[in-house]
Structures are given as C-alpha cells and as structure tokens.
C-alpha cells in the first residue's frame, strides 16, 4: 500500500478532503424532496457549568417523525480528554460529525505534539457545521453543544451553535433539540453560579425530565426498561460519566419528593 499524500497540515478533515475525497461524508446530494423526518433524529441535550467544570447530558431517544427510531442511542460524546460534544438533529450526520471531531482533535494532538486550545476546538466544530450547511438546507440539520474544561483558564466553558456555524459562548447553561426549550426553562429556574456536582447532576436530570414531560420526542428516564440519560462531567481531571444507579436515585427523589 502506498502512503503519503499531498496534504501536509495538521487537520484530519482537510487531509480527507485533499487525499481521500471519497471518504468525506457528503449528504448534500440527497434529493431536495426527500422527507428528512424519515431519518432518526436526536432530541434533547443540555450543558451547564458547575463548580468543577461542566456537565453535559442528553436523553436516549431517537425519533423518525412520530415513531421511535431508537430508545437508547447516545448523544453525548467525549471528543477528547477535556471536551464533550452533545448532538441534536439528524442523528446520522450528527454522530458522524462527532466521530470526525474526535479524530480531528486526536489527530492534531498527535501531529503537533500538543492539544488544541478549547477555543480552537470550538472553532473547528463551527467550521464543520458550516460545511454541513448544504445538507442542513435540505433538512439534515445538526446543532451540537460543545463544552469542556479550559486548562489555561482553569474553568468549564460551553458553546452553542447555529446552522451556519455561528458560535456563541454561554455563561451558565444551554439546551438544544426538540425539548431544548423546556430543558432551558427548567435550568433557568434551578441553575445558579458555582453549584456543587450533586446539585448539577440533579438539575440536569430534572431538566431532562421536564423536557420529556412536555416534548413527546424526548426520552427522559425510562425506569421500566432501565434506560437512563447520559450525564458526563468534564473537569480538570478529565471526563467522567455518571452511573445509572446514581441517576436512578436522583430521579426517584425527583418524582417521589416532587422537588
């Protein structure tokens, strides 16, 4: 096998575009009249700051129009040791974008010998969303949240994006997806500056529960099937995932105690 192409830089997606264009995902050729609601869509994800960093959470439901596509998909991904991405929108392109983002960050780190700054990572994601614009115009919208721990500034940070790749840093919290509005309303009342980890986990579950209550496409906690939302913490020490039993305990307290 021949190795070594024309591309000499540090970006994986650019390397693909130059040396392996057949591998670059391209959904823009999807017919204009294609009903994109027939494809699985991820629903509600959120991110919030707490005393040690950021929490990123998402429910597990994917829908195709009014049908359930999957009850246990994952929408929160660790893109490297200190950053997380949560996806909402068309699941196929969104999951692929998260996968490329992860490879992109690792690739840069290996080629350059040091990781990108958190701002640099967010900017890269913004470019990837912009490149998806033609597909988004045909209904394959991908609107992720990006969050991480900024090792230089020693703080958690989070960003939301719009379909054109517009990048907006949020000071406290953000939620997106079909139930995002309800989750944000919930967080608006419960979130305050510098909350502890336990409180953060609780209000994240509360917000997803509120979203699931109002939005039929959001999954929430499914005690019957034992399917729990994904909740990831990102701190100076790295990324850590809340266990199902932690989430179950908190959820039972929420529905039992009224909270």
């Amino acid at each position: 096998m021949q190795i070594g192409g024309k591309y000499q830089g540090s970006s994986f997606s650019e390397h693909l575009a130059v040396d392996h264009p057949q591998l670059v995902p391209d959904w823009s050729r999807l017919a204009v009249h294609f009903d994109s609601s027939k494809l699985p869509h991820g629903t509600t994800v959120l991110a919030l700051k707490y005393s040690d960093g950021v929490i990123v959470a998402g429910d597990r439901l994917a829908t195709e129009g009014n049908r359930v596509a999957s009850r246990d998909i994952e929408k929160v991904f660790a893109t490297d040791s200190h950053s997380l991405m949560a996806i909402a929108g068309a699941a196929g392109p969104a999951i692929e974008m998260a996968r490329i983002m992860r490879i992109e960050l690792e690739h840069y780190e290996k080629i350059e010998g040091e990781a990108l700054e958190l701002d640099g990572k967010a900017n890269k994601l913004s470019q990837m969303i912009r490149q998806n614009l033609p597909a988004a115009m045909q209904g394959l919208v991908v609107i992720p949240l990006f969050a991480g721990f900024d090792l230089r500034r020693q703080t958690g940070r989070l960003w939301k994006f719009d379909v054109t790749g517009g990048r907006y840093e949020e000071a406290e919290f953000e939620a997106t997806g079909s139930g995002g509005l309800y989750a944000r309303e919930s967080l608006k009342k419960s979130h305050s500056h510098d909350i502890a980890k336990e409180t953060g986990l609780k209000i994240a579950i509360q917000a997803l529960t509120d979203a699931a209550d109002e939005d039929r496409a959001t999954g929430g906690v499914d005690l019957q099937r034992g399917i729990y939302p994904i909740v990831d913490f990102c701190t100076e020490g790295g990324v850590e995932r809340a266990t199902d039993s932690e989430i179950e305990t908190i959820y039972r307290a929420i529905i039992g105690g009224g909270s």
């Binding site: 096998m1 190795i3 070594g4 490329i100 690739h107 010998g113």
Partner: protein, 233 residues
C-alpha cells in the same frame, strides 16, 4: 557522439547505502524494549524536538537519523492510521500493516530518488489482552533501504545498533518491570555515547505503550517521573 556516463547499478546502490548509513550513524541511538506491561521506547535527546511519537491507540513510532525526514514519516504514519481507523474500525489499525507501508515508502525513495532517506524507524505495537488474536506485542525495524525486520523483546536503531543489540541479547530478560527496563535502556544508551558523562533523565526521551491504560495506550514520561523510576544514581 556523446556517450552516456555509465555507473553500474551495483555501484549506485552501494554508494546510496553508504551515504544513508553514514547519515544514520551520525545520530544517537534509540532503544525499544518489551516489559511486563507493554513496550517502552527510549532515546537520548537533548533537544525539545521529539524522536518518539504516538501513531494510534496501540502503536508508537521512534526514528533516528535526519530529524526532518523521520518526523515527516511519523506524520505520514499518523495520517495513514487515522484514515484507516476512520474508514474501518480502530482495531483494524495494526502495526504490521503500517511497518509494511513504511518499508514500501522508504524502499521506493531508496531505489527511485537520487538521495536516500537517512533514517531508521521503529514501529512498536502493544498487545491487547482482551482482544483474541491481538495479545502479542510487536516491534518492527525499517532501515534506510526499506528492509524490514521484526523483533522480539528488544530492538536498537541508530549508529550503535549492532553493538547494542548484541549487548541486549545477553542482558534482556522477558517480563521485566518498567523500572528494570528503563535501567537497562539507559545502560544501553550510555554505552552508545561512550566518553560522554552519564545519560541523565533530563537528556532522555521516554515513551511507554502501557497495556493497562484504557483507549490510547501511549504516554510520555516526564523528567520527574523518569527520575523517580531511575532512582538517584
């Protein structure tokens, strides 16, 4: 009529090999050793430019010779591995395929180009005990003419390679602790730079492929960690 100037192919190859060998032997040596938890790669390096690098989850690279040339090979390896892992799966990225690809590329330059690459590289892969068929470690050495060889336990590249491989044949033991492997590696590098003062932790670049780490097995040891592992001597 102008007669083309004739040089026999044997002579051309011999000259190129001699040129490349000289280039490689000017640089310092690099040692790769298997130990109980994986593979450790060591090089004497006083600069901040790395001679050892991460390629993929279980694969590391070490180069000696001309920095710009082997660093280019390292980057090509990262691109090759990430592209392969993206189009197939992470487990499909294997050291053997990469070593073969390097062998092709370096061999091609040796036969086609006027100037051969003045490098020698190591591709090391740590085994994954939880994956059937992927349990064993692997060390491949690729020389300036593209010749490739696989090694068990240890391998030295660079100017003093023959001498040091001979030394390790006697001193290497399987299933050493990391500390013992580091001591042995340092002794070998010390011998390579004879006449020099002691090879201190500050002048050592050490990277480990640690089987017990989840995901990416590659780590770079800091000078402090090295000092601790090597003791005060």
């Amino acid at each position: 009529m102008n007669m083309p100037f004739y040089v026999s192919p044997e002579q051309v190859m011999q000259d190129k090999a001699e040129y490349a060998r000289k280039g490689v032997s000017r640089g310092k040596s690099s040692v790769t050793l298997e130990f109980q938890d994986g593979v450790v790669l060591m090089a004497e390096n006083t600069s901040s430019l790395s001679k050892i690098g991460e390629i993929y989850d279980r694969i590391a690279f070490a180069g000696v010779g001309k920095f710009s040339e082997f660093d280019q090979l390292r980057k090509i390896g990262v691109r090759y591995a990430d592209t392969k892992g993206y189009s197939y799966s992470r487990e499909d990225v294997r050291g053997k395929a990469l070593a073969n690809a390097y062998s092709q590329a370096i061999g091609d330059v040796f036969t086609r180009e006027m100037k051969p690459l003045e490098v020698e590289v190591i591709v090391a892969e740590v085994g994954e005990t939880s994956l059937a068929g992927h349990e064993r470690n692997a060390i491949y050495r690729i020389q300036f003419d593209g010749s490739i060889s696989d090694h068990q336990g240890y391998c030295v590249i660079g100017g003093a390679a023959d001498d040091l491989n001979e030394m390790l044949r006697g001193d290497y033991r399987a299933d050493m602790s990391l500390g013992d492997a580091l001591q042995l590696g340092r002794r070998a590098l010390q011998r390579a730079s004879d006449g020099q003062p002691q090879v201190s932790p500050e002048n050592l670049e050490v990277c480990v492929l640690d089987r017990n780490r989840p995901g990416r097995k590659f780590t770079r040891l800091s000078t402090d960690e090295l000092r601790e592992s090597l003791g005060s001597d």
